[in-house]
Structures are given as C-alpha cells and as structure tokens.
C-alpha cells in the first residue's frame, strides 16, 4: 500500500482542522467578550438602576376579591346570597408534629384520603409559614367541635370565606342560573386584573348575563415583604368595590304557584307583565339545585342529571322548541282582517276536512264531524282548523312568515338571559336554503295551524300573548327591574324596552281576536270554557296542541294507544284582564295531550294567584 498521498492528505487535513479550531476559538472568545461586556453593563454600569428595581420588588401587590352583588325578587326574597363557608387551615411552621396533629384531628373532623393527598401535595410546594387549606366546607358541628378543642391544635385555624348560595334552589335555577369556578376558556376572555383573586364567575342565567354588574371591582393591597417573603406591613390598601345588587321582576309567590300547578309534570311556564315586559314567573320543570354547581358538582350527580330522561338541566322556557299549534290562530286571524282577506263576520264552512283544488289529500279538522259554518270568533273559540287552512291558503306563506315573525315567533325576544333560542317560522327562502326544495302549497296549510316546520319557545309564546294583550305594542321581556348600588346608595331602574308595534293597524282586528280568545275561555262553546267557571274577571286565552305523532289519513288513534313520551304537548297562551291586562302567560305541558285539559287550568290558577297577590281579588274564604 502506498501511504504517500493519503499521508499528504492527512497532513493537509490536520492543517485545515487546526485552522478551523483556531477560527472557532477566536469566535468563542469574541462571544465570551460580548457576554462579559453585557454583564459589565448590567452589573456595574446599571447596577444602581437595577438595585432600585430589585428593592421595589420587595413591595408586592395582593388582590382583594370584591363581594358579589346579591339578587332579590320583586317581593324582596333573596335569590342569590353570599354565605360564609368555613375551612380548616394550617400554618405548618406553627405545628410541632404535623402528622401526629392530623391524626388527633381526625377524631373530630372526617378527612378522606383525597383531601389528605391534596393537602400533602400543597404542603410540599408552599413555604413553611404559608397558610395551607386542609378541608373546605366544614359542617357546623365540625366548626363547633374544633372550636372547643382549638387549644390542642396550635397552628390550625378555621377561616370563613364567602360562597354563593341560592336559597330557593331549584325553584329559580332556570332564571337566576349559577356561578362556578372560572375555567380555562373563561380565563382567556376575562380581564385578569379585574378577576385577580376572584374564583367564581356566572355560568348561566342572570348570573351570567349580569356578570359585569354583579362582579364588582377588585381591590388591591400593597404589602411589604421581607427577604423571606413574609408580609411585614400593609403599605397601601385600595378596598374592592362590591358588585351591585339586582332586583328582579320575578315574584317568588307566583313562581311557586306556577311550579305547583305543573304538579310534577314536565313543562314550562312564562308569565309576563304586558305593559312593561317584566318577567313575573319563569319555570322550567323539572329543575335542578344550582347550589350543587357552585363549588364543583360531583361527577356522579352530574351524570345522573345529564342522563335523566326528563332532562332537568335543559332550560325549557328559554330553549325548548315546540310546535305552537293552534296558539298561532289569533295572529293568523288578525292578519286576515288586516290584509282585507277576511271580515270578522265572514264565514267558512267546515265539513271536518279541507281540500286544495285538484288534490285528493284531506287536511283534517280536529273536529271530525266538522264545525259547520264558522265566523272568526267561533273559529277561535272552537279552534276550527278548516277556517285557518282556508285563511292560510289565501294569505300564502310569504305574508304568513312576515306576520308571525312580527308577533315575535321565530325571532329572539331579546330577554336579558343568555342562550335564548330563535325557534323557526318557515319561509320559501328558509326551505330552499336548508332543504334545497321549493315551498309546497300544502305546507302553507299545515303551518297555518301552527304545525309543520314551526317551532317556538315557551318564552316566545308568552311574548306573543303579551303582544296581543297590548293590542300590538311590543315590549322586550326583562328579568332585571332595578340595579342597586348599596355602596353609593343609588338605584337604577331598567326602563321597559319598547320594540315598536305589530303592523296590524285596523282596530277591529284586535277587537275580533280578543273577542275570539275571550270566547275560548268564557264563551258557551269555548275549548277551555270549563277552566273559567267561577272567574270574577274577564280573560282571554287560546289552547294549542303540538302534535308529535303523525296520524295517517283516515286512521283513528286514541291517546291511550300512544306511549306517554309520544303524546301531544298541551299549550295555552292567555292574558287577563281583557282591558289593561296585567298578566300574559305562555304555558306548555309536555305530553299533556290537550291544551284545554292540561294547560288552560294552570292559567286560571295563576291569574287567581296573581290578582289575589295584587289585592284585586279577595283571598278565598
């Protein structure tokens, strides 16, 4: 083998390598020089500046969370309170033998392994003089027993902390909502400075929609700490500004009556004051205890609530979507008069079914035998379907869409609660967009009696009832009546939010439909006449039945043959008294089968209750 060129190559490689190492070493020295220059600049030239900054760093700013505003009902009942809950805390450096002390403590206070594990984990991270929580939510008995034996436990202490409490629990959950621990998503949204020290935030209901009002403004205290971080003294204190209180328009007595009237049935009730839009009752049944959510609900309980077939967590009043059924008929009738297509006295013959020209399909009236010749008032009183099939055909879907939307169906009412659903009033454009199909004439008929595609929330039904009660004046539903600032002693009344009037300009239209709705309850042949017996005031209503189950042509089915969860929903809208109405209602009883039997009696009960509370009616002897 000839090593000649390879050796030569190697020596050239060595030279090259040596040169590279020298270059790299020089580079290294330059970089070290830069580092030293930077350190000289920081540590010698700017030393005084940074010393000042480091001294200032001895001052620490600690946030003080504000007290959350309270929530009251119209009748002065506290709906959301801040209650002191007690927790046991330990300062490790003040305890001689921590394990032994905890062992003794367990005689008085139950501590499970989870709590102990969490405590030990925190013990490792925190400093010896920090206060570390051992157990939250002590019972009154535990507080008492510990207080008696406190002298045996130096370093242990009971601290009080405010926790949100809803005295009426499930009764007001659908409206008041609840607060819960701030989660990561909310953390991104909120201003960290405003929420420094705050652990909870509104998650549902007015707790959420009025979060800004209820929360208040965080305070700060500037404290001086020594070299170990111990607080030496408070240098400056800027107290927090507590959140403002809310006074709701809700009346707890009417609310309780509404819940009772459902007698445990699944459903929703919304009661509005027509003149102001004030929400007087707001029920979604069944409900849940919001207190369980405040400090974290147990997984097991949450699962049972979530998986319950009756869906207690579902806010039916705000988010439940139901076909409005015959409750749309008064609005249809008003549209018929306004457009000139009908006069109040015009009659339509009902043989028990309706047919479109050249179509064999029979659109059936609920009254198989037929109503005979009906005018507007009778069509409402007896809820004749044929009258409205014919009217719907004349109006056409475009005008129907505009009309019902004007009454607030298929649009958000703008209530001051989060999560309201829109519902649906179909249109040609909607059907083309979502189903890629043209509108068929038969669909106009079906939607004319509130079936088919139409979907409304109980809140929208109550709103529509209040619009009729107001003869067209639209006032946005409002839950909060007054915002009170207890610190400043000021009260801010929330003015009714007027949304204008429905485009029904002929007075006779209102007269006709109010008469018709009055006949429903207080006429000789009204569908709900049984419920008005003995009423000392005049009122108006309209029954509705939302079909869940399509019945085939020519088939007859009795309700007993249909499984309970497939039975029709019972609906009722109503207002009272006829002139200057003070209460408008939207009522749904799920699977209640018949609006007149299941929903209408509730209206009578609530009117009686409300007028008695207002002092218009005498208490029953």
């Amino acid at each position: 083998m000839n090593f000649g060129p390879r050796m030569k190559g190697q020596s050239r490689e060595t030279q090259l390598f040596t040169r590279r190492v020298i270059v790299a070493s020089v580079g290294m020295l330059v970089l070290i020089g830069m580092l030293i220059a930077r350190l000289v600049y920081l540590q010698l030239l700017s030393h005084d500046h940074y010393t000042t900054l480091s001294l200032e760093n001895r001052l620490r700013v600690l946030p003080i969370a504000p007290t959350r505003g309270l929530v009251y009902s119209r009748d002065g009942v506290l709906l959301a309170d801040n209650r002191t809950s007690f927790m046991l805390e330990v300062v490790p450096e003040k305890v001689e033998d921590l394990e032994q002390a905890i062992g003794r403590l367990r005689q008085f206070i139950t501590l499970d392994d989870d709590q102990l594990a969490r405590f030990r984990a925190e013990l490792k991270q925190r400093r010896r003089f920090d206060t570390i929580p051992l157990k939250n939510n002590l019972t009154e008995q535990e507080v008492a027993v510990f207080s008696v034996n406190r002298q045996h436990f130096p370093g242990f202490n009971i601290a009080g902390r405010l926790s949100r409490y809803y005295p009426l629990g499930s009764q007001t959950a659908a409206l008041v909502g609840y607060v819960g621990r701030i989660n990561e998503e909310e953390l991104k949204r909120i201003d960290p400075a405003a929420y420094a020290g705050t652990t909870h935030i509104g998650k549902e209901g007015i707790e959420k929609s009025y979060e800004d009002v209820l929360h208040g403004t965080a305070g700060y205290q500037q404290v001086e700490v020594n070299a170990e971080g111990r607080v030496l003294r408070v240098v400056e204190r800027s107290p927090p500004i507590p959140g403002r209180d809310l006074h709701l328009s809700l009346d707890t007595r009417l609310q309780a009556a509404a819940i009772d009237s459902l007698q445990g049935r699944t459903g929703a009730i919304v009661a509005l004051e027509p003149a102001t839009g004030a929400v007087l009752a707001f029920v979604s049944n069944p409900s849940f205890d919001p207190n369980e959510f405040v400090n974290g609900i147990s997984a097991r309980l949450y699962q049972s609530l979530r998986d319950s077939p009756e869906r207690p967590l579902f806010n039916r009043a705000l988010q439940g979507l139901y076909p409005p059924g015959s409750t749309v008929k008064p609005m249809m009738a008003a549209g018929g008069i306004e457009t000139g297509l009908r006069q109040a006295g015009d009659r339509t013959y009902c043989p028990g079914f309706y047919r479109l020209p050249k179509v064999s399909h029979k659109y059936r009236c609920w009254q198989k035998a037929g109503h005979g010749s009906v005018d507007l008032v009778r069509s409402l009183a007896e809820s004749c379907d044929v009258y409205y099939y014919d009217l719907a055909k004349d109006l056409g879907i475009d005008r129907m869409h505009a009309l019902l939307t004007d009454f607030g169906l298929g649009v958000k009412t703008g209530i001051d609660l989060p999560g309201e659903l829109t519902g649906l009033v179909p249109s040609r454009e909607w059907k083309q967009r979502t189903r890629k199909q043209p509108w068929y004439p038969g669909e106009t008929l079906v939607n004319g009696i509130g079936q088919g595609f139409m979907l409304t929330t109980p809140l929208q039904l109550a709103y529509a009832a209040s619009v009729i009660a107001n003869r067209g004046q639209k006032l946005s539903p409002r839950v909060v009546a007054t915002i009170e600032d207890p610190a400043a002693g000021t009260r801010l009344a929330i003015e009714p939010h007027h949304l204008g009037a429905v485009a029904i300009t002929k007075p006779e239209a209102w007269t006709a439909i109010v008469n018709g709705m009055h006949e429903v309850v207080q006429g000789a042949r009204g569908t709900a006449r049984a419920t008005a017996v003995g009423a000392t005031y005049q009122y108006a209503g309209k029954t509705g039945t939302a079909q869940l189950f399509g019945i085939k042509q020519n088939a007859t089915l009795k309700n007993e043959d249909i499984a309970k969860h497939l039975r029709d929903h019972a609906l009722f809208i109503a207002f009272a008294p006829l002139e200057q109405p003070r209460l408008a209602l939207g009522i749904i009883v799920e699977n209640g089968e018949s609006g007149s039997k299941a929903a209408a009696p509730i209206a009578r009960t609530l009117f009686d209750t409300w007028f008695r509370l207002e002092g218009v009616l005498d208490a029953p002897g």
């Binding site: 190559g9 490689e13 090259l16 390598f17 040596t18 590279r20 190492v21 790299a24 070493s25 290294m28 970089l31 070290i32 830069m34 580092l35 030293i36 930077r38 350190l39 000289v40 920081l42 540590q43 010698l44 700017s46 030393h47 500046h49 940074y50 010393t51 900054l53 480091s54 760093n57 001895r58 620490r60 400093r127 960290p192 700490v225 070299a227 170990e228 971080g229």
Partner: protein, 366 residues
C-alpha cells in the same frame, strides 16, 4: 501503546484529570446555587447530586470505549434515536408539545440522544472520506442533520433542535467545508428568515418580539426577561451573597432552579462570581480543544471539536438568554441547571472526550 494495567488508577479508568476536575468544580457550584434557588431544599439538592453521580458514571463508562468502537456504534445509536423520535411524534406526551416518550417507568426526551448521536454519526460518516468533503458528501451529511432537526422542531422544541443541528453542522465546519459554501448557506438563511418567521409557532414569535422589547408585555412573556435582568443587574460586582438574592427568594424570578439559575448566580455572586464561573467553563473548554488538537484520527478530531464547541454554545445560549441578549429558548446551563437529562448528555459528551484522550495509540509528550 499501552496494554493492561499500569497501576495508575486514573490511567486505568481512562480518566482525564483536568476534565473531571473541571466538571466536579462546576457541579459543586451548581449544587450550591441550587440550594439557594430551591429555597434551601436539601431534597432537591440531593436529587440533583444523585443525577450528577449518574452523569459521572456515564462519563467514566463511555470513556472505557475506544473511539473506534464509538464510531462503529454511532449509526446504530442514530437509528435508534430516529425510531424513538418518530415514536414520540406519534405517541409522545408533554404539556402542549410532544417531547417526552414514556417506556414503562422511564420517561425521557429522545431528542436528547440526538444531541450526541447526530455529531457522532456525521463524524463517523466523514471520517473515512478525504477532507474537505465533496459537495455530494456535504449534502448527505446535511440530510443526517436536517431530518432529526426537523422532527424536533415539529415537537415543537426549537431550543433543542438548534443545539442538535449546531452539533452536526459544527462537525461539517471542522471537516473543512469551504467558506464559500458557509457564506452561501448563511446568505440563504438570511433570505429565508422572513419565511421562517411566518412558519413559527406563536409562542416562538412572541419570544423574539419580547426579546426586542420586554416592556411591551411586562406581565406575560416579558416578565422572565425583566425579572432576570433585575436579578443580574442588582447583583453588582460582588453579589448579594449566597442565599441572599431577593429576586430569587421572593419568587419574582421564574424557572430559577432550571433555565434561569444563572440569574440567581449573578444576583448572589456578582460579576466576580461570573468571571470565576466562566474561568471554570474555560478550563473544561480549553482542555477539550487540546484533546481535539491532539486527537490522532479523523473521527476523534471531528467529534471532539464538535462536542467542545457545542458545549460552548450551550453555555453562551443560556447566559445570553438570561442576560437578555438572546431569545428565551429553554436551554439549561450545563452542569448547573436543575434537571437530569441534559446533565447526563453533557457528562457523556465529556466521557467521549476522555475516551479520545486516553485511547491515543501514540502518546507524544511535548
């Protein structure tokens, strides 16, 4: 040539006294700063000491292998490292990033293996070629560097990726690739920099913005830099004294035991202490350079030089980051920061240097 036992323990164990001495000195400094930075936690110090013992064991173990054997094993280690990197990309764990691989009780970052495997493999690849390498060889070597580098960037762990790729590129540099090529690469980088900016993760971009103007985000990303700078600057010439740093003890300084431990050191020992620390590092670095210069085969030379200057890059990147000259990339200070993985890697690298020094066939005393 030396066979069998010499009777000298240091020689028998293939120990290079200056390297081991320098490493021990740095570890001692590390433990004392850590005691301060961890709020006097003997538990933390004990844990770190145990990792250091493991590091020394690894260092001495690797020194027993001859460079020839290391060269032969290099591609195998590289292949294993790549398999683990791919596995990490698929089943890895970590907060917001896939960096860790869990194998039973073991939990480690495969990217750490690559810090040694990449330069070893590039050195092995070039060792039997005529240097400076032809362009095709350079391209192949660049591929060896870029593939694992890409995987690590994707984790995403830009800091480690830069260190892994730097180690590999240094081998190429010492292999003598032409300055023109280096200039070309630098020029391409400058041109591509704006594109890199747009492909960066938001947090990486934020770090660069914050470096340029920490006061723009004093409570967020700029907080690290501002508080570290205050710690360093308030240390002054002689420091506040051991255990007396207020910045660190009052918990103003984040990551004070790990990536920002140098700030604690600067605060408590001042510029004087920093100069002493730099001297200790220089001892190790200069010894490493000497070993590289004395190395007798191509592989040893390339890997030795690469390891020494990679070590310097670690030191410079960490110190530059703490003193606000470089963006916060999450590189620990060698032998001083709390943490086991990078400590063992660095000690193993020093072991390779010892192997090169003590396995020379012709020992020429000058």
């Amino acid at each position: 040539m030396r066979l069998g036992r010499s009777g000298n323990l240091l020689v028998d164990l293939h120990i290079d006294a200056p390297l081991v001495g320098g490493a021990l000195l740095l570890c001692a400094v590390g433990l004392s700063v850590l005691y301060s930075a961890s709020d006097h936690s003997l538990e933390v110090v004990g844990k770190q000491a145990a990792r250091m013992a493991l590091g020394f064991a690894s260092m001495i173990a690797i020194a027993q292998l001859s460079p020839l054997r290391l060269a032969r094993w290099s591609p195998v280690i590289y292949a294993i490292g790549m398999v683990l990197l791919i596995a990490t990309a698929i089943v890895g764990t970590g907060r917001g990033a896939h960096r860790w691989l869990e194998l039973g009780p073991l939990r480690f970052q495969p990217s750490e293996i690559m810090k040694l495997a990449v330069p070893l493999t590039v050195a092995w690849f070039l060792s039997d070629k005529l240097l400076p390498p032809r362009l095709s060889l350079v391209a192949a070597a660049l591929l060896l560097v870029a593939v694992p580098g890409g995987f690590i960037i994707e984790q995403p762990d830009l800091g480690t990726a830069i260190l892994v790729m730097a180690a590999g590129l240094l081998v190429l540099f010492f292999a003598g690739i032409s300055w023109r090529l280096i200039g070309l690469v630098v020029a391409v980088c400058v041109v591509l920099a704006p594109i890199g900016w747009f492909t960066m993760h938001d947090y990486q971009r934020q770090r660069i913005i914050t470096l340029l103007d920490p006061s723009a985000d004093p409570l967020g990303a700029g907080y690290h830099i501002i508080q570290a700078t205050i710690a360093v600057g308030s240390g002054g010439w002689s420091g506040k004294g051991w255990l007396n740093g207020t910045q660190s003890h009052l918990e103003f300084l984040p990551e004070r035991a790990t990536d920002f431990i140098f700030a604690v050191y600067c605060e408590e020992f001042g510029l004087l202490g920093v100069l002493v620390l730099l001297a200790a590092y220089l001892l190790v670095l200069i010894r490493g350079i000497t070993i590289a210069m004395n190395a007798q085969d191509g592989f040893s030379r390339l890997i030795a030089a690469s390891l020494v200057f990679t070590l310097f890059i670690y030191i410079f990147v960490n110190m530059g980051m703490v003193t606000g000259q470089l963006p916060v990339v999450g590189v620990p200070l060698p032998l001083i920061s709390y943490g086991g993985t990078s400590l063992v890697t660095i000690m193993t690298g020093l072991g390779i240097l010892m192997s090169i020094q003590t396995h020379r066939r012709f020992i020429v005393e000058s």
